[in-house]
């Protein structure tokens, strides 16, 4: 039973990461890991300004 739970958790998290990566790409956040990125503010502001 626990093995199934572990498998589901890994599959779920992997699926979430793929979903987030695709979402980020669509939003032109190419790195896909803005959280914690020290350049995130400068990066997003340059994007906003260009828009």
């Amino acid at each position: 039973m626990l093995a199934i739970v572990i498998g589901v958790v890994i599959a779920g998290y992997t699926g979430y990461l793929i979903y987030r990566q695709v979402k980020n790409l669509k939003a032109k956040n190419y790195c896909g890991h803005c959280t914690g990125c020290p350049s995130a503010i400068a990066c997003s502001s340059i994007k906003k300004a260009s828009e």
Binding site: I6, I10, Q21, Y30, C31, H33, I41, A42, S45, K48
Partner: protein, 686 residues
């Protein structure tokens, strides 16, 4: 065109509290973000070089039952609308969103800072002047007359120290008491001609809209031929504004600033400044570059040598964690496939990356120290001559410098370059600067094959990457110049001159450094838990599944099939092993994945430990992969196509599929040629 006098009311803690919007504005590097952090407890990035804050950032705090909303704006020198930062800041302070402006000035550079102050006063909104860095003024044996300065400007002046957190309460006290006191906008009295024109425009603006209160500011801007204001101006003033009066207006402002400084700055005698003394050595015409190379060499020595010595603790923890996970999986009987996914895929892939955390932390600690001390801004100045020789502006060195951290913001920073050619050349060479993601690869391969010369081997990557960048820029400039000469033989090539502010040297601030390092550690951990995790799972699938389904032997996997396809291409570079082909493809996701893929490929969870290194060295040795192959691989990884995120940003910046493909292929071919050249020549001697 209106000034907001409405106070916003919000409910706070069960009763009505006043909300006041305060805009922090000032010259670049005047300490706005440090002051903002001191009030809000935020941990925004601060650095001792201009241009760190590119967009406005908001925070709030409670002061005597009032909610004060603070907005940190990008550093600007004036309220013109030439640069992106100036546009952002001006639009914001002209809007109704700000009630009181706090003009943060560097007291040690009063002449330069007061220009913006005068423009802010002319805008007509309540302004409080925060005199920051008073300690530097005192250190120079000077004093500022804090009674005469507010008298001359007509606004309150408060001395503060953002780093020492002194004067903060008095500043907010002044803000709360002056929130509805509007300054006399006629602080600068211009010559008769200009004053007459201001009067005429002001009258016309008032006739058009009697609600507009800051007509003098708009009149001055119209006389300066400010394009944005002219476009938004609802009335025709072409009969009054017969030419641009910008230079006269600027001159008269500086005349007043000269008078103010003369009167308020006491003991303004010339003293040999510490900054000048240090600069005479660090920015020396001859020694500047060797000193820079030496400093960077020391930084990487710390990164590789010291980092290696402290990471034993990490390896121990990860080793325990790996064993604990393995035992746990056995207890719950997860089965061979799931166990392999977790141990050989996730733990091997993500765990491998985590062992390099001490190296990364030390690199960013050293870079933060250099930045905060004021040295990094000087490097651009030192390199200006060299950059000019290769046909680039010294400003192009900023993206290259950022490239040592991450290629993504570095490519974006190329946007600040004025012409398209410079941008393209800088984007082309920036990926040659070794980003921090390549550190694990250098540490692993050099540690495995170069023994006591490991640090030297790793540092050499930074040197040859940098040299390749300069060489590429030089060659492309030569080609461009030839083409230009063919088109217009008499015109000489134009090189944009560098204009950069060199901040005072100062003792690095522990708080700023800790924020910088922590943010980078967080980014690394975040990447390990997301991008690397995903890449490890995908790699495990590619390496554990084949035409027959799940395979125990990776040489039968889909990954091996793809890798073998690359063997003939990579063989001349000494990389003719399917495992290396798989690693290099995986590295396109993120460079760290090259190392994590090795962990998965060779089934070593703690690859960077002494046992891991020796196991892998033996395995590779048995395959015929030695020191020359390892160095060739380091060269290939240094030069080859940047990660997908960097490529996407390059495409976005170049706005051309053709040029993006060119960059992609150029890096790939350059990497292949360089590693083949090295491997073949080195093979003759070893």
């Amino acid at each position: 065109m209106s000034v907001n006098t409405q106070r916003n009311k919000v409910l706070h803690c069960g009763r009505e509290a006043e909300e006041l919007n305060i805009g922090f504005i000032g010259n670049p590097n005047s300490g706005k973000t440090t002051l903002f952090n001191a009030y809000t407890g935020a941990r925004l990035k601060v650095a001792n070089w201009p241009g760190v804050t590119v967009e406005k950032k908001e925070g709030a705090f409670k002061y005597h039952n009032h909610v004060y909303k603070l907005v940190d704006l990008p550093g600007i020198y004036s309220l013109t609308s030439y640069s992106l930062e100036e546009k952002i800041s001006r639009q914001f302070i002209l809007s109704d969103e700000v009630d009181v402006i706090v003009d943060v000035t560097d007291a040690s550079n009063l002449e330069r800072n007061l220009y913006l102050t005068l423009q802010l006063i002319e805008m007509g909104k309540p302004v409080v002047l925060a005199l920051n860095m008073m300690d530097i003024v005192e250190d120079r044996g000077m004093e500022i007359d804090l009674h005469r300065l507010p008298e001359m400007l007509g606004i309150p002046v408060v001395a503060v120290s953002a780093t020492k957190k002194t004067g903060l309460d008095i500043l907010m006290h002044a803000v709360s008491h002056h929130k509805e006191i509007y300054p006399n906008t006629k602080v600068v009295v211009y010559n008769e001609v200009i004053e007459d024109k201001i009067e005429q425009i002001t009258q016309r603006l008032k006739e058009h809209d009697p609600q507009v209160t800051n007509t003098r500011f708009y009149a001055i801007k119209l006389l300066e031929n400010d394009s944005e204001i002219m476009e938004s101006c609802p009335i025709d003033v072409s009969d009054i504004v017969d030419q641009s009066y910008e230079s006269e207006i600027i001159k008269e402002k500086y005349d007043l600033i000269e008078d103010i400084v003369e009167e308020v700055l006491v003991n303004k005698q010339e003293r040999a400044q510490l900054t000048d003394k240090i600069d005479s050595i660090l920015t020396h015409r001859v020694w500047g570059i060797p000193i820079f190379v030496g400093i960077m060499g020391f930084v990487f020595l710390l990164t590789f040598a010291v980092g290696d010595s402290v990471k034993g603790v990490f390896e121990g923890w990860l080793d325990h964690f790996g064993r604990w996970v393995e035992e746990g999986l056995l207890t719950v009987n997860t089965g061979p496939v799931l166990t392999s996914l977790i141990i050989d895929g996730i733990v091997a892939g993500v765990g491998t990356i985590l062992t390099f955390l001490p190296n990364i932390a030390i690199l960013f600690l050293a870079l933060a120290f250099l930045e905060d001390s004021g040295y990094m801004a000087r490097v651009t100045y030192v390199m200006n001559g060299t950059m000019n020789k290769i046909g680039l502006s010294g400003r192009a060195f900023i993206p290259m410098l950022l490239g040592f951290g991450c290629t993504v913001p570095a490519v974006m920073a190329a946007r600040t370059l004025e012409n398209q050619r410079d941008r393209l050349k800088t984007i082309l060479i920036t990926p040659f600067m070794s980003c921090s993601a390549k550190i694990p690869i250098y540490v692993l391969l050099s540690g495995m094959f170069f023994g006591k010369y490991a640090t030297l081997a790793a540092f050499s990557m930074y040197i040859i990457g940098f040299v390749a960048g300069l060489f590429t820029a030089y060659v492309t400039t030569k080609i461009e110049n030839k083409a230009d000469q063919a088109k217009a033989p008499k015109e000489s090539p134009v090189v944009n001159q560098l204009l950069i502010e060199l901040p005072e040297y100062k003792k690095p601030n522990a708080y700023s450094i800790s924020i910088y390092v922590w943010e980078n550690i967080k980014a690394y951990l975040s990447k390990a838990g997301t991008t690397i995790f995903l890449a490890s799972v995908i790699l495990w699938f590619v390496l554990k599944t084949g035409t027959t389904g799940y395979v125990e032997d990776m040489s039968e996997s889909f990954g091996a099939i793809i890798g073998r396809f690359l063997v003939p291409i990579l063989a001349p570079a000494g990389l003719g092993f399917w495992q290396m082909g798989v690693s290099l493809i995986a590295g396109l996701a993120a460079k760290e994945v090259v190392v994590s893929s090795m962990g998965i490929l060779f089934g070593i969870a703690n690859i960077d430990s002494a046992i891991g290194l020796s196991t892998m060295q033996q395995t590779l040795g048995a395959m015929g992969f030695g020191a020359i192959n390892a160095y060739s691989m380091m060269i290939f990884i240094l030069y080859y196509t940047p990660c997908i995120a960097a490529l996407a940003v390059i495409a976005q910046e170049l706005k051309s599929v053709k040029w993006t493909m060119f960059v992609f292929l150029f890096q790939l071919v350059f990497a292949w040629l360089a590693s083949v050249l090295f491997y073949q020549i080195a093979g003759l001697f070893m």
